[in-house]
Symmetry: C2
């Protein structure tokens, strides 16, 4: 039986993140219809703000898909791939493998470029397999391992070969500068509940003119009616009915996105680095070490830390959960081996991680974690 969870939880997970206060307030706005003029005005604002967030040109088509980030991933393959297309998927974690699965379901011949777990994709491996490839797909920040893939270099290779580039920006866009136009990305998506700290249920997307041209050259309609690019444009640009968008979530995302742009991407990136460094400084004496070996391969927004030898992963996380602190462990091969500490949106703040340090001091019977954490945060106050 469901019990009322009115308790506030400290979410240190790689998503969902705590909802931004401005988004929480916006969620309570009175209901309006998806075809009401106020909602079209709201959507136009959201589109402009998404262009700023993704670093696109002023005319690039942006929109919110009425679903989570996985639907954002799927819409790229559904609209831009047809049976028999050659698609190169960079797969060095769960989300890269999910991309390969989806591309295959939409009829692609999938070429996989892999890397050992905890390592970034090598652009040379991509370049070596580009012959005849129509689309390259890569996860910018691989949430399952805390690895940052070299999107700008991969984009250069895709451009040289005339291939489209789809980028999963779930852990990056909205938390630090994303340069879609400058890099040459054709389709990018994220989830509302990640770097923007909005409620889950929306996938903000950006679609380049090259991608739209590919869409218009399709031989057959995309099976995915719900996210058909033309249907989306009918609603977002021509204001004709397609499906009922979740207006309450639009209210909240609009507020969270504005808050993120008001703060600025460079400030947010600095916040992530600052808190991330303090966490590592605080935990290092206990034996926590970076899981990703090469510093340039480390994803700032999902801090993957290898656990000390003999550390009781499940037991400690369970005890933390009893204190209403959620920490996420590894997935698959890294289960029991690592923690993945989220540093997206409202999670990348001193207060929630100070709560973790306090609880760990008590649970592990060690001292000095909170003091080390606070000292590492100096001179920036909480």
């Amino acid at each position: 039986m469901f019990e009322d969870p009115y308790t506030e939880h400290v979410l240190l997970t790689p998503g969902p993140t705590p909802i931004h206060p401005r988004a929480q307030q916006a969620l309570m706005r009175p209901m309006l219809g998806h075809m009401d003029p106020e909602i079209f005005a709201l959507n136009t604002d959201i589109q402009a703000d998404l262009r700023a967030m993704y670093g696109t040109t002023d005319t690039t088509f942006t929109a919110l898909l009425a679903g989570t980030g996985s639907l954002g991933m799927e819409a790229g393959f559904a609209n831009l791939v047809e049976s028999g297309d050659e698609v190169l998927v960079c797969a060095n974690g769960s989300f890269g493998r999910r991309m390969a699965d989806m591309a295959a379901r939409y009829g692609a011949n999938v070429r996989l470029v892999t890397a050992p777990l905890g390592e970034a994709i090598d652009p040379d491996d991509v370049a070596a397999q580009m012959d005849g490839v129509q689309m390259v797909a890569v996860v910018h920040g691989e949430t399952s391992t805390g690895v940052l893939n070299p999107v700008p270099q991969i984009a250069r290779i895709a451009r040289q070969h005339g291939a489209l580039l789809t980028v999963d920006a779930v852990t990056t866009a909205g938390m630090e500068p994303f340069h879609m136009a400058e890099w040459g990305v054709d389709y990018a998506y994220t989830g509302a509940q990640k770097c923007l700290s909005a409620p889950p249920g929306l996938a903000p997307v950006a679609i380049s003119d090259r991608a739209l041209a590919r869409y218009h050259a399709r031989r057959t309609p995309t099976p995915l009616w719900y996210c058909d690019f033309e249907g989306l444009r009918d609603y977002w640009e021509h204001h004709t009915y397609h499906h009922t968008v979740p207006v309450n979530l639009h209210y909240a995302l609009h507020a969270a996105l504005r808050a993120a742009l008001d703060e600025g991407m460079l400030t947010r990136k600095a916040r992530v680095q600052h808190v991330g460094q303090a966490i590592q400084t605080a935990l290092a004496p206990l034996g926590f070490t970076p899981y990703v070996q090469r510093p340039e391969d480390r994803l700032p927004t999902v801090l993957a830390l290898r656990l000390p030898d003999g550390f009781d992963d499940a037991g400690v996380r369970r005890a933390l959960r009893e204190r209403h602190i959620s920490v996420t462990g590894g997935l698959g091969a890294t289960a029991g081996l690592i923690w993945r500490l989220g540093l997206m949106g409202e999670t990348a703040r001193p207060a929630p991680y100070r709560a973790l340090m306090n609880a760990l001091e008590d649970l592990l019977g060690v001292q000095g974690l909170t003091a080390r954490f606070d000292a590492a945060l100096e001179p920036v106050p909480a």
Copy 2:
């Protein structure tokens, strides 16, 4: 530029409906993760309540799709149709035609059974085309015209021929008894923002064992990874990660669904009839007449009224909108010809329609509408 719409609007549309107060309150519950035990307990409650709402057996698989009703429609075709299947679609309005479009996109050979606008599908027309048909699809209540299609009779025919039956229950389930098991429906879906008065962004679905058997007999995976029945069951029944569900919307839907079941489907049905009759009584002297000729073909939850000759449809609806009252006109061929007054969830109450009567008295310079409306509601008080 988006202006703050904190004004309360009177939504008399066929969706979205005003959010139920218990759902509005639940929307503000503190954030939790989609893998947290409290959310799995909440989901289990929702599944049980959906079984009650749809009138299924105790073991029928129910779930919420993380998208709107159209995604509910699409998931049925995506999972239950393969290339070359014979699908018979009952299409007597916009949503029936949408079904035909989707079925074709997933490779079906589509046979259309149509009826003139404003008339229900004739079961004999369905029976005449059943040879070799693997699936029948029908919209229970056609929102675009206010027509109720004879689902029980169509279900009997589908059963006789061993075909699956997909039913769009968007304007029916949650507002009056729906008998999925008794009738023999295999896949049913609705949208959260219709009869349940929850926020938009979720599609409650129910899937029969026959439908699951058909799914398991597929020769190829469904393209639609996001709503793959097996992926949904992984999350909803085995509690393994599939995609991030919109937990805030789950909170709200859970509260709205409980409120609906607490009230009871027969009470809700009576409420619809009562308010609908009062609206017709009040407006009849102005020349508003039922658009759907045969009383048994009239959908109770979307009252389609033919406008009086010379009535300034667009002008009056614009003037109502300036008073924050939203009324929906016709779609396509019925544009300018009809109004479609929603009677779903919280819209099927005297108060919002009294606001309409008051405004019309003033705008049209007529008297007695509100008094007639109130008299017709006697002896049940608002």
